[in-house]
């Protein structure tokens, strides 16, 4: 008899666990009549909160207190959830299944995929409200006459410099290399520059050098938008640029190395091993903590080259199309977050230049680094959001990695250009 008991317990786990399932109907099961005011609203908390926000670990520290205050003011429960992996893809899937969050934070390059999947809904803020924000930031989340997210911070690559190793900001890449290598010779540091390449390459971090050496991803049309019919990879300009990168690589001056990757690039600088670091605002907190004396300047160009153009990314709040709590979501984004106080709080917890002009001015006055980070965006181009970029970033990164490793720049760029062309055409 005993085994029967055990077997039954096991097999009926599905049912018995459900025994305690609440009998009250979920929010979608309500009859179409207006909800009757009921006193039992303060009953046991629902499994899902009245407002659910998905975000990254870093941003969660800033969003959580603001969201909690919002919850108290409106007497609702709020959940800020850190998504471990692949926030964008998980959000698209969950939203399609009706199980997604109400709000999420992601950079502007989420827009293309989000529109393709109908994942987000437009921000219903008028021009009056949006006028308070940096124009390029608003433009980065605008498409088809709508604004799709509330931007809060910008990020772009800059040059961090260990002022002990290199007291003066370099005017050119060549100067960066020579001063960096001089510091290595003196023994102040172990390497001139820390720039993540890795085995798979990093097209994002290489872009400033690539553009300064004359390369481009796509041509720009008259209105300053990407013209994806004119691909820059594989052109003679891109090959010339790749040669300049190769000269910095493992078979050249060894300033660039595949051993430096996303997992150790910042740590190399904070440990005092590197004279220079190319990174974004996310590195700032660690650098400050490390006590390495530093300064921030825009990334210098090659001597006689074009300006070094990093990508401009804009972090933003997005409202989801299948949100369970659209009214609270809208209220939170368009009212609570759309204030100088909330934007300042975002900066304080997750320091990066705010995109609300009044907040940026106030913050830069107190924190010189913010102004310097923002100055690095002067030559920046917008981070492209085309869904097909998923087929462009990896081959381009791989091309940079093999070129840094010593492969022939000409054939590498030509072949990669063909690969990218077919990826762009496929859509």
């Amino acid at each position: 008899m005993r085994y029967r008991l055990l077997a039954l317990i096991t097999a009926t786990a599905l049912l018995s666990t459900a025994c305690s399932a609440d009998k009250e109907a979920g929010p979608t099961d309500q009859p179409s009549a207006a909800p009757a005011p009921s006193a039992s609203d303060a009953g046991p908390a629902r499994e899902d909160a009245d407002l659910v926000i998905w975000t990254s670990e870093a941003a969660s520290r800033a969003v959580t207190p603001i969201a909690q205050k919002f919850g108290q003011e409106n007497n609702i429960t709020v959940a800020v959830q850190v998504i471990a992996a692949d926030l964008a893809a998980n959000a698209i899937t969950a939203n399609a299944a009706g199980n997604g969050p109400d709000i999420l934070t992601l950079p502007n390059d989420f827009l293309g995929g989000a529109l393709q999947n109908g994942t987000v809904k437009p921000l219903s803020l008028g021009a009056g409200d949006l006028g308070a924000y940096e124009k390029s930031a608003v433009a980065s989340v605008s498409r088809n006459g709508q604004v799709w997210a509330l931007p809060y911070g910008m990020e772009n690559l800059v040059l961090y410099r260990n002022t002990k190793a290199a007291p003066k900001a370099p005017a050119t890449v060549e100067e960066l290399v020579s001063t960096g290598q001089a510091a290595v010779k003196k023994g102040t540091v172990k390497r001139a520059l820390s720039l993540p390449v890795g085995q798979e390459g990093d097209a994002y971090h290489m872009h400033p050098f690539f553009t300064s050496a004359g390369g481009s991803l796509f041509a720009m049309d008259a209105s300053g938008q990407y013209d994806t019919t004119k691909i820059g990879i594989g052109t003679p300009e891109s090959i010339a640029a790749a040669k300049k990168i190769a000269a910095l690589g493992e078979k050249g001056s060894k300033v660039l190395s595949r051993s430096i990757d996303g997992s150790n690039a910042i740590a190399q600088f904070t440990a005092g091993n590197a004279a220079y670091l190319i990174s974004g605002p996310w590195a700032l907190a660690d650098i400050r903590k490390s006590k390495v004396p530093y300064d921030i300047t825009p990334i210098p160009p090659f001597a006689g080259g074009k300006p070094a153009a990093p990508f401009l990314g804009v972090q933003a709040f997005w409202m989801l199309s299948n949100a369970k709590n659209p009214a609270f979501a809208e209220e939170f984004v368009t009212k609570t977050m759309n204030t100088p106080e909330a934007m300042t709080a975002m900066y304080e917890q997750d320091p990066r230049p705010p995109v609300r002009n009044d907040v940026l001015a106030a913050v830069s006055a107190k924190d010189a680094d913010m102004g310097k980070l923002a100055a690095g965006a002067k030559n920046a181009t917008l981070l492209p959001d085309f869904p097909f970029m998923a087929g462009v970033w990896p081959p381009l990164g791989q091309a940079y990695a093999t070129i840094v490793g010593g492969a022939d720049p000409t054939s590498t760029m030509q072949k990669t250009g063909k690969t990218i062309e077919s990826a762009v055409k496929a859509k």
Binding site: E47, N264, I266
Partner: protein, 283 residues
Amino acid sequence: MTVRWWREVGWRHAGGLVAVVFAVVPVLYVVSAAFNPLGTVVSTDVIPTRFSLVHFQSLFSDPARPFPRWLLNTLIVCAMVTFVQVLCSALAAYAFSRFRFKGRRGGLLTLLLIQMFPQFLAVIALFTMVTELGEALPALGLNTIAGYSLVLMGGALAQVWLIKGYFDTIPRQLDEAAVVDGASHAGVFFRILLPLARPILAVTGLLAFVGVIGEFLLASIFLTDTNAKTLAVGLYGIIESDRSNNLGVFAAGALMTALPVVLLFQYLQRYIVGGLTSGAVKD
């Protein structure tokens, strides 16, 4: 140390020590990172040079990362799934080992085959399914430990082959004798086979436990609520957010994750070794 000792025992120690070094060096690195107050990739080496509990403190004090809660969730999931998996597998293994029925061979092969489906490619279907289940019975939906455990229990028969292989080595005469003495098939299973099969139950229990504790893929999709997370997802979030600087906290968390497995093994080892004597009741 005689030559004979070397031939019979000594070489075993030599081989064992080589394996120990191989096994331990990476673990030592994790230990070293966990106790290194700097906790960065660059500052960590195999031999711990500094000692500090700062990462463990931050594990247990940071409200944004409710580590104790994750640990508890993980232990609940592991316990439930391991118990169900070992029990169901042992029951089925008994049937496959002792009964002759139609579809027996096919059933065994099917079991093996089903496990070969690349499960993470079925993840969208699973997600849709749990979404639907959650709408009907919120206690079993997304972001619930119960729902997540149920999905993992889909592998309830994962250990059948191992246990059946062990049952096959237990002489049938034993159960036949018991039947003659008036025992039911259930009696044979619970009173004779299960006690004799303790070593393999301990091994499969451990295998199941480790399989669940390290499960990351499904958990990262099903458990997004901070308080519903397991250690695997929670820790991945820590390292993913900042690979170079969170190494210390991550390593500390990794050690805490390994701890239950090590303890469980210490507990189960006597059954595995105990098999040396009790398993010797042979024909």
